[in-house]
Symmetry: C2
Subunit: 341 residues, 2 copies
DNA sequence: AATTACCACGCAAACGTTTGCGGTAACGTT
DNA sequence: AACGTTACCGCAAACGTTTGCGTGGTAATT
């Protein structure tokens, strides 16, 4: 089977006896072209199965219709929902998406960013890697390309950010624990370089303060690499205290699952003796028994919103954008780890 | 801060007082250029932070260094490990990756494929959507572009395929069940249009036959959209049979988890009364209690291998490739759902 | 009838790179 | 001294598209 040659503007022009520029304008619905000509051109184009050469186009216009996405870890379920939202919205708006993973490695993150701009993406969507302290390389990119942060953001970077209401969500979760009678609520969080962790911690503190509960450093635990294992380890620490907590809020579902597993091993009754709350509403949270009370983050919506704002900036390259922070609402999902029916 | 103009070959040429072509050749290590000139050019290029305009290049050479990936569902953990492998290997070889999701929608799948080729990818990596019956559109693409199938493949499409040893893996899993004394082993699978399901079913049948066990259609259950819910439903069906199974093999971890959940609700002892085996070694399989015996699929390796073969074909466009099927070995992970310590 | 206005279209340049071909100088060979 | 060879390098075309500008023609206005 022979490869039929790909049609070009030139071919269409010749077959119709008109010029290349007319064909181009006709296809782009330029006002200078009469309706009849447009019809004829479009008909033939469709007939020949014409597709514009994206490289000639990008070459000429410096527009690629590709957006770059950098995420720390693609295997997290929540991340995939973000990506799904990005993919859908981008596709809707005629954009393609290039994804890369920084593996929570700051150097790799800047490297990824650089190859992306080298590659000619129109804009970048980024979720920051942990421990991103050196912002200079990111700032440098910002005056080359539109950049929007999502999910894992940073106050220090002056750009539009799309996140969830981390602080408020946590506040609500802690308040829920207080409402069911818990008074000594522990938290398992990450170090201070994690955006999400800090925001959630703020919500935790505010909830305690506003309810006149004491803040006890002994039950505020920070770990570097939060995970199920760390959840287990920290639970052992907490439950060997003299004053044990009566609730544990883990900043992550997987850590919370580690908490539950260890509590069960220690024969601690959930939620009567210790209640547990996670964050993310991952699939796992419904598999563990008791099922985990957690905060549902609408990943798809976050991703889609981020794309919308990015394309907005791409289309208005010279405007100065006020660096909005868009907060997407999340929902507390109450399950058996805090509330027994 | 002003955007410093992006350097081009022309600039380098002018500053060095040589021609554009010489600069181009020097950077591409062409043999016609003297070492000294190469040194000078490369030094200045590095100094100016020169990056070739990918569009001019792609425009000229018809090579994009992008590979397209189409997967049915990006939110499955196993899929993300595949993608991680693809991303890593591609990056290593200087390729960028465009991902799109077919959502198990056949029409969307062909649409995705078309926009990919329209977009000028150098090759495509695809994991087939369920129920892909109309192969014609895929075949049409195959003589335009290199295509490699991975994970969800099809014997009917004549191209290189990278899969795991589905049949053998299942055979081993069933044999393990037989070894622990099980004799009436049920299977929960998908309909006959799922590649993975069929392969696994073949392994199931072979294991039973070679061990002289009867094949009973009553405990061979097929569903369209396999999931945890379906696992639950099918378990209820199986456990209300007169002759109940003493083991259930579910073609998917999530279905297997549904099985376990329902068995626990029915107060059936696992694994003494009924053992359970899944497939994939997803994270969930270690969260459910008892932990699930399952088959670990090395997703990253599959992804990386697929990329290697694809780039091989991209670099030798005119060779006829024998349509190899590469089988990556998987491992049976024995846990408490079949074997109690 | 002369001017103006507008519509519809064509010409040609430009984007940055690669590459076939031709050319010059230097050197070695006969 | 004439010729062939080699090593380096430049010229210019080509890839397909967009777009500023120019132009012929027709209709509307004066």
């Amino acid at each position: 089977m022979m490869k039929n040659k790909i049609p070009t503007l030139k071919e269409i022009a010749e077959k119709l006896g008109i010029s290349i520029s007319t064909v181009s304008r006709a296809l782009n619905d330029h006002q200078d072209i009469s309706e009849v000509t447009k019809e004829r051109v479009k008909a033939l184009a469709a007939d020949l199965n014409y597709i514009p050469n994206i490289f000639a186009k990008g070459f000429r216009t410096h527009k690629t219709n590709i957006i770059g996405v950098v995420v720390p870890n693609i295997t997290h379920y929540f991340t995939t929902t973000l990506i799904r939202g990005i993919l859908e919205e981008a596709s809707l708006q005629g954009y393609r998406v290039i994804i890369s993973e920084s593996n929570n490695d700051v150097d790799k993150q800047t490297e990824m960013l650089n190859t992306m701009i080298q590659f000619g993406v129109d804009g970048v969507l980024m979720s920051l890697s942990k421990m991103t302290r050196d912002i200079s390389s990111i700032l440098k990119i910002m005056n080359t390309l539109p950049l929007i942060l999502f999910d894992k953001a940073s106050n220090k970077i002056p750009c539009t950010q799309v996140v969830i209401n981390e602080e408020e969500a946590t506040y609500n979760a802690i308040e829920h624990l207080i409402n069911i009678g818990k008074r000594r609520i522990a938290i398992i969080k990450e170090s201070e370089f994690s955006y999400n962790s800090e925001k959630r911690f703020e919500g935790y503190l505010r909830a305690l303060k506003e309810n006149n509960l004491p803040i006890d450093e002994k039950i505020i635990l920070s770990v570097d690499d939060i995970s199920m294992i760390q959840g287990k380890r920290m639970t052992n620490v907490l439950m060997s205290l003299k004053q044990k907590p009566d609730a544990i809020f883990a900043i992550t579902d997987s850590a919370a699952i580690g908490v539950i597993k260890t509590l069960k091993k220690l024969h601690v009754k959930i939620p009567e003796e210790v209640a547990v709350v996670g964050f993310s509403n991952s699939i796992n949270s419904t598999i563990i028994e008791p099922m985990l009370t957690t905060i549902d983050q609408p990943g798809q919506k976050i991703g889609a919103t981020a794309v919308k704002y990015l394309i907005e900036e791409i289309n208005h390259p010279n405007e100065i954008f006020i660096n909005k922070t868009i907060e997407i609402r999340s929902n507390l999902i109450i399950r058996n780890s805090t509330f027994k029916v």
